[in-house]
Amino acid sequence: MSAYTADEMMAVEAARRIDDGTVCFVGIGLPSLAANLARRTHAPGCVLVYESGTVGAKPEALPLSIGDGELAETADAVVSVPEMFAYWLQGGRIDVGFLGAAQIDRHGNLNSTVIGAYDSPSVRLPGGGGAPEIALGARDVFVMLRHSTRSFVEELDFTTSLGDNVRVVATDLGILEPVDGELTLVAVHPGVDPDAARAATGWELEVAGDLRQTEPPTDAELTALRTLRTKSSV
């Protein structure tokens, strides 16, 4: 078994949860990596939808932006942005929406807007973009976020999107899923002590009684993931 990074483990574990044929609404960064990895391994028929309007994109390399030219060249269809949000997302055609954020709370609500007060922020973040409607319009929402007390907080500085449809949160330490409406640690990655996840969480993190351990990345998964990254232009 090759050595791998915590980020790679996070991407691999998120990718494993995408079934063949799943229609994924994908943002840039780790979600794009996970969805492309799924398509290159166990789910060749998963459909990647980028909010720039590319439906069924099949990039060889990881795009830097959600609007890279290769996405349009390889897509089954290219639609306008108003059509993307109205007909495809609001139309109920998205199975899985991926979201990241700066902060998450125990209910899966996310903040990608500001740190500090809205009118005098200490950090002005990019803002919601597609997230508010993805969070409620996709059947299932997958969140990918590195685990730390800065991001897993008792109270959000700003609620950008709601956690109603969040089914799984993949972190660099393990997997959280909602149990009775509260995100609970249900699995840790190999070698991770559940106390480390608790210590990296800003609320009293519940740990499932039947806590599982995720399987380390297979050689095939790592090879596919690194090939995607190597081919990336940046």
Partner: protein, 269 residues
């Protein structure tokens, strides 16, 4: 005005204090036109754009904007916009008022503007804090009773986009990622389109949008006018530049020096 030099078109169409939308969803971002606004020292603009990125960082950092209407502001795949953050967090070079939306809300607002409707309607802005900081209201469907979000139509004074090409009559053709190019041109009171080239005949392209000349006030030839964004079929996105912008824009002095060298003193055709 049909086909005109960019400096003339900006001079006639864009006034201080206007609401101006430069659109292009990653693709076909009208950088050359944005630089002309900076060179002509437009002031007090309300800048509208779904995804403010490098060109809006430049406009804000050079003091052109009073207000920003947007849904996602960042350097895609790279990080923050340092000039925008400096304006919001520190008021440099001047304070910037924000009107923030979601992508779905902005898209609906442009589509409503193009359709000459007073508002766009969507299932959105539910819960969360955004609705208390922006212009959105609730309407009830008269048929089902469902409560939906209403966003005021976006009707810019001037809409500016880039496209691949125009014919000699000024009919414009664009393809690849379409963004909200068509909507912003049709929603705006005045519109300016920069193009890579003028051709004798617009050969049909798969999925292309054509904007008839009579929907556009000025077409300006600006080769590589989207750079560092891209024009599908002409040149690729300059991802290295987006990465480099992070360091250029992080510091006020290095930003101003870069703008002086690359925009203000640039010779315009």
């Amino acid at each position: 005005m049909a086909i005109a030099p960019l400096s003339d078109a900006v001079s006639v169409l864009v006034r201080d204090g206007d609401t101006v939308a430069l659109e292009g969803f990653t693709h076909l971002i009208p950088h050359a036109a944005g630089h002309e606004l900076i060179r002509q020292e437009r002031r007090g603009l309300t800048l509208v754009r779904m995804t403010p990125d490098v060109v809006y960082d430049q406009l804000v950092g050079m003091g052109c904007a009073r207000k920003l209407v947007f849904s996602w502001a960042g350097n895609p795949g790279v990080g923050s916009l340092h000039r925008l953050r400096d304006a919001v967090e520190n008021g440099w070079p001047q304070p910037l008022e924000l009107e923030e939306h979601s992508h779905a809300g902005m898209a609906a607002a442009y589509a409503a503007g193009a359709a000459n409707l007073p508002f766009g309607v969507l299932r959105g802005y539910r819960g969360g804090n955004l609705r208390t900081h922006t212009r959105v209201a609730t309407v009830t469907c008269p048929f089902t009773g469902e409560e939906l979000a209403a966003v005021p139509a976006q009707r810019p004074d001037v809409g500016i986009v880039h496209a691949q090409r125009a014919d000699r009559s000024g009919n414009v053709q664009l393809w690849g990622i379409l963004g909200v190019q068509k909507e912003v041109v049709l929603a705006s009171s005045r519109s300016l389109v920069t193009v890579e080239e003028v051709v004798d005949e617009l050969e049909p392209m798969p999925g292309a949008v054509v904007l008839p000349s009579w929907t556009i006030d000025a077409v300006c030839v600006a080769p590589r006018g989207a750079h560092p964004s891209y024009a599908h079929g002409y040149y690729d996105r300059d991802n290295d530049f987006y990465v480099a912008w992070d360091a250029i824009s992080r510091d006020r002095n290095s930003f101003v020096a870069w703008m002086n060298e690359n925009v203000l003193s640039a010779v315009v055709a």
